[in-house]
Amino acid sequence: MNRNSRSDGLHDAVRRFAAGERARSFSELALEIADFQREFSAGFARLCSARSAPIATVDDIPGVPCDAFRLTRVAVHPPDEDALRFSTSGTTSGARGVHNMRVSETYYQLALAFGRAALLSSARAHHVVALAPQLDDPPTSSLGHMMALFMVDFEQRGPFDVRTSERWLMGEDGVDVRGLQMAAECSAKREETLLVLATSFALVGLLDSLAGRVLPLPADTVVMQTGGFKGKTRELEPAELRAAVARSLCLSETQIVSEYGMTELTSQLYEATVPGSALGRERSGVPGVYAEPPWLRVVPVDPTTLEPVADGEVGIARIIDLGNVDSAVAIQTQDRVRRVSGGIALLGRAPGATPRGCSLSIEEFLAGARR
């Protein structure tokens, strides 16, 4: 069987798995994808061969460090077969991490399936806006693309042009507070549930624009927050930001739901807190705990041996994402995590254990020449 036939077969199996079929288990699929990637990705083959033991279980699959996406192409297929191409933010050298996907349907199905479960609190139609900059064309940000996807799918009125200023409520002047107010009025008038998709720094921008005033949104509004601050605004602790946003928009804190995603992944994790959502009903999660979709598993591993740590102990996250059929089924991050009841607690990046002195850190290098 050639490369694309095998890839198509795996995509089909993953989509079926996501739809609830369990002809093959998560582990079987993960190992099959790893085997496929070892055959067609020279880089992954090198990582596998560096292991002292064969890959027999999911825990044996080596994680591809996120930085590899910046240094080289992480894909089993050639560039002319890319259906989607998402980039991370840039660095001094201009090198961006790029996630190349050959089959867009898998991405759409997985993102929508778990997004619906986590964010949709009622069967009503939704009105979706983004506190994010206007989507570029073609979209290079996986987050922007996902937001656009949610706008079309969750509004249940067929395809429409999402590239309008009423949808993307953040420009060079900051957050469009008036636009958000109009979106709230529009959804109330049409008896739709308002869904606000926002980056963390946009929410801080919103709070700054409101300057202590409140902007009451319809009572069943859901706000999805995602991403870090990337030095664009002052930073707030997640709990502090959640509380402030809830207070300012007259919502309960459970209506502010965090998403964890990254360019290098096909799938996303969410807090299972939204009242009335399928995920909330199934897992009744708490803030700060991220639920994995059935086709993704986070394995906390020891940072120096990369072996899984005992349940409940802190490790760095290796993420097995069955959606990454044509890139890297296992991603190794530096995010500290702990498995807890209901999912994964995110604990941020590893703190500096040793005073660094004047030696340049990798983070500083990636942040670039700032003077």
Partner: protein
């Protein structure tokens, strides 16, 4: 500057040089004590501490260097010195700059590694003060060494009227152009391995990347040869203890480099090459990334503010071009990256 002022500055430096000199002999009581204390606090192996003292502690700067140090250091009512961790010999140069500036020198050592400053003071009592907190006032000068984060903190908390000389984060590179002979290449890589191994690569002068511009040398061949030199050197000078975070960063680098191209085990460290010629900054701990660069000056341009030191081998005209292109970095020979002339701060980024 008057001769009197110049002589006064010179006189203040002499006790410090003598104090440093007395640490060199491992058989002396001070030399033994220094090795014991510095091994405990630095995390380096005992051999690593001895190697750093012998190679990098400047105990006999020549007359021209001292003259330059005195001439280029601005005077201060009080000179405050905030020391960094990781490269203990740096305390010597930093205190010397303070003494060149003022008769009243107040030094705050790194809390984790106070030993070198204490050892220097014990050998030159009264030449400067060790303090637990610095309290500069208007008209004073502060020479601060450490991470950019620390420099930012210092800058925002400094009272008005205090002149700050901040030396923040940085890294070193090596540039190999032209076609060295086999024996020249061996000597260059031996010297580069020593530059890498000193302080287990934790300093801002430590080379992290080698740019290669040579029609006759392949990056793979250079990587293999350098890995061999690093391995040999580690048998003589073992790597010290690394923190969990440092080890974790090495693992991440190892796997990234392995995925992206070629990786060579080099004792406890690694030498890497990326297939597509992208930059990769290896973490400290004796690791080096090799970049094939047809135009090293252009390749270095985006990193100019971060570069402290650049070892160079190649035609002299290219060396001069590199000097002009990197005014903030010390351009030197392979093997001299960790011992810049004692004529001022280790890098030239504040000039």
């Amino acid at each position: 500057m008057s001769d009197f002022e110049s002589d006064a500055r010179r006189a203040r430096l002499q006790p410090l040089f003598e104090s440093a000199r007395s640490l060199l002999d491992p058989a002396s009581e001070r030399g033994r004590q220094a090795r014991e204390r510095l091994t405990a606090s630095s995390g380096l192996s005992r051999e690593g501490v001895d190697f750093a003292l012998q190679r990098c502690l400047e105990v006999a700067p020549d007359e021209r260097e001292i003259a330059a140090l005195i001439a280029t250091t601005p005077s201060a009512r009080v000179a405050h010195v905030l020391l960094s961790a990781n490269v203990f010999v740096a305390a010597h140069r930093a205190i010397a700059i303070g003494l060149a500036a003022s008769a009243d020198v107040r030094v705050r050592a790194s809390r984790r590694e106070p030993d070198m400053a204490e050892l220097l003071l014990a050998g030159a009592p009264g030449s400067f003060q060790l303090v637990s907190e610095l309290s500069p006032r208007a008209g004073d000068r502060l020479w601060a060494y450490g991470s950019d984060e620390t420099m930012d903190e210092v800058a925002t908390t400094l009272p008005a009227g205090v002149a700050l000389h901040a030396h923040g984060s940085g890294f070193g590179v090596a540039v190999l152009e032209d076609a060295p002979s086999e024996s020249e290449l061996e000597a260059l890589l031996f010297a580069l391995a020593e530059d890498i191994a000193l302080f287990d690569q934790r300093g801002c002068l430590s080379p992290r990347v080698l740019l290669l511009n040579s029609a006759s040398l392949s990056a793979s061949a250079v990587a293999r040869a350098l890995a061999h030199e690093l391995e040999k050197l580690e048998r003589r000078i073992p790597r010290g203890q690394l923190s969990t975070q440092e080890l974790s960063q090495i693992i991440e680098y190892r796997d990234t480099a392995h995925f992206a191209g070629e990786l060579h085990q080099a004792g406890s460290g690694f030498v890497s090459i990326a297939e597509q010629g992208h930059w990769l900054l290896p973490p400290s701990g004796r690791n080096l990334h090799i970049l094939a660069a047809p135009d090293p000056i252009a390749a270095l341009a985006p990193y100019r503010p971060l570069l402290t030191s650049c070892a160079f081998f190649g035609p002299s005209a290219r060396r001069e071009a590199l000097r002009r292109a990197l005014p903030g970095a010390r351009v030197c020979r392979f093997g001299d990256m960790q011992r810049p002339p004692f004529d001022g701060p280790v890098d030239r980024r504040d000039i």
